[in-house]
Subunit: 348 residues, 2 copies
């Protein structure tokens, strides 16, 4: 054991002159902790010291290092979210609400796309957990086995959104896709359509859409629909193309030619509607079109699109509230069940 003073010279690893709390402290003539308090607990800093710190911060254009702060305080100022597509319209309102509310509270959003692939989701979850985010927000409840294990093992709170499955350990904010399918069936049946069809998302990994289909088929069976609804999965990857392709295929059928079609989402339905317009097919005269999502264009199309509106913005708001609750040490309500709304317009 050597005396502390006898320790060998510190090998400094800093090469670039990054500005740190210490630099600010030195310039302001205070200790590092005072600068730290200036940012985190300003009421605990005297007026004079605060003024000097403020001047130093501005002179140096200092921005505290959040990674270091998070490490020291075991608190992270990021929230991570995995969505099927960060730039798609489906989760736009959810993302917007979540992101804005979190930003207002000083939290930033880390985003990744899964493209409806459980492998992509797993990669994203793994990468995100490395940041020890304040929460991890997912947009599905269908995960790979490895993802499930990660979710179980991590200390990071997980919020599953846009889904509802009572028996899971995670927080959930969502609705029943099966019920959406049932509502669609009831609406179309109620309007007198008797030969129904369903158009899947071209991405086979969209299991929520599959559930909407299942609810749709189930309700139709109960209502007395003849046989299961025809279901097609288009090949085109681009959703509007896919919708157009599916409608063409359905209307070309000799048997079970549908008089109404429930599309897995509004992008598909919109593609179908525009294709019908171009081909001169009458909607809902020749065929009724029904969607899911109530995207921005739904009420503007001609005919306007009948659809089901999910509580997208609300989900984002509640997710943000949950995160802040968790950060505050409280436990939010585990299950938040929201309702979708049938929006009856001209197309069905």
């Amino acid at each position: 054991m050597t005396e502390p003073g006898a320790r060998k010279q510190r090998t400094t690893r800093r090469t670039s002159q990054r500005t740190t709390l210490m630099d600010v402290a030195a310039r302001a003539g205070v200790s590092a902790i005072t600068v730290s308090r200036f940012f985190n607990e300003p009421h605990r800093v005297g007026a004079e010291a605060a003024a000097r710190v403020k001047a130093a911060v501005e002179a140096l254009d200092y921005v505290p290092n959040l990674a270091a702060g998070g490490l020291a305080s075991a608190q992270s100022r990021v929230v991570a979210m995995v969505v099927p597509n960060i730039s798609g319209p489906i989760f736009a309102h959810t993302l917007e609400a979540l992101s804005d509310r979190l930003a207002a509270a000083g939290y930033q959003l880390l985003l990744a796309s899964s493209y409806f692939s459980q492998d992509n989701e797993e990669r994203a979850v793994r990468a995100f957990l490395g940041w020890r985010p304040a929460a991890l927000v997912l947009t599905s409840r269908h995960h790979s086995a490895a993802t499930e294990r990660l979710i179980e093992a991590t200390q990071v709170p997980v919020i599953e959104t846009w889904e509802l499955t009572p028996r899971r350990p995670t927080l959930q904010i969502g609705f029943s896709h099966r019920q959406v399918g049932r509502d669609a069936a009831a609406h179309l049946w109620g309007r007198g359509y008797r030969q129904l069809a369903f158009v899947h998302n071209s991405a086979a990994g969209d299991l929520s859409a599959q559930e909407r289909h299942d609810g749709f088929a189930e309700a139709l069976r109960e209502l007395g629909h003849r046989g299961a609804p025809v279901a097609v999965r288009p090949r085109a990857a681009a959703p509007m193309e896919a919708g157009a392709e599916a409608l063409r295929a359905l209307l070309a059928r000799k048997r079970q030619r549908p008089d109404a079609v429930f599309f897995a989402n509004d992008n598909l339905a919109c593609g179908a509607l525009l294709a019908a317009q171009r081909e001169g097919w009458s909607v809902p005269g020749d065929v009724a079109v029904f969607g899911f999502g109530d995207y921005a264009f739904a009420d503007k199309l001609l005919p306007s699109l009948s659809t089901i509106r999910p509580p997208a913005r609300e989900i984002g708001e509640i997710a943000a509230a949950h995160v802040l609750t968790l950060v505050g040490g409280q436990q939010p309500k585990r299950l938040t069940a929201l309702a979708c709304e049938v929006i009856a317009r001209e197309s069905a």
Copy 2:
């Protein structure tokens, strides 16, 4: 000075049992640094040790703490980006390309919306710099004075996209909005339209749209257009509503009723097109409609939308390449000028 052995008991701050590198090391019977190497420089770990570490990692579902790693190595695995709207269609392709390429390289994307407000942008930039990202990607060159200072002072490389201004210190990947406006003018003039109008984004902060307008007006002056083009800024915040509102106002004019309208973006143009459809106005017969962006629906509308396609995906790809170049210690080309493409369809 007390002897090291006489130091008071460490006050341990850890309360929850977070799994760390040390836990993995202990379980694998190696030192912490070996576990670190297992993740970062696997070739430097012996086969036996690696196998034991691997087993321990899996048994504990261990995920390395990236904040701690980044702090120690002075390298960050995040890239931050500010866009006007994270969920809008404008930057969708750029975001997608950037996010996917970065994810493939092990980098995550931190995102925030500015909503065309320089104050929002400043807040986002400040928050992002706290993470010491590998790069900060912006989508404009118009910033608040404070943002400019932050950009100047920070060590973080800044990439400005969707713009081009030779004299700035930042990396730039973009195109000339003024040229876009000129191209629109040339196209419409070439098709014989002689009474032109421009529709602004309802968000006054969209200065790029303003530049498109300026280029448009400038080129028209050169071409011999009678007076400056009529320019309107709609009130409605929702872009499709705004486009419809603007078209209605323009067609109601007694004097200078336009025969062709250049909309600041495709969302506005789409709103106008759908409104025209509903009102029974003929496009381009009664009025021609021209947009900017080439969003997904542009070629599906009836009539299909003539527009200008920006190199959105390419910008994202090049930005990602720049980030990786920077991380590798190289300096990317400072200025990347890309071209837009006029897409002549049915509406103009």
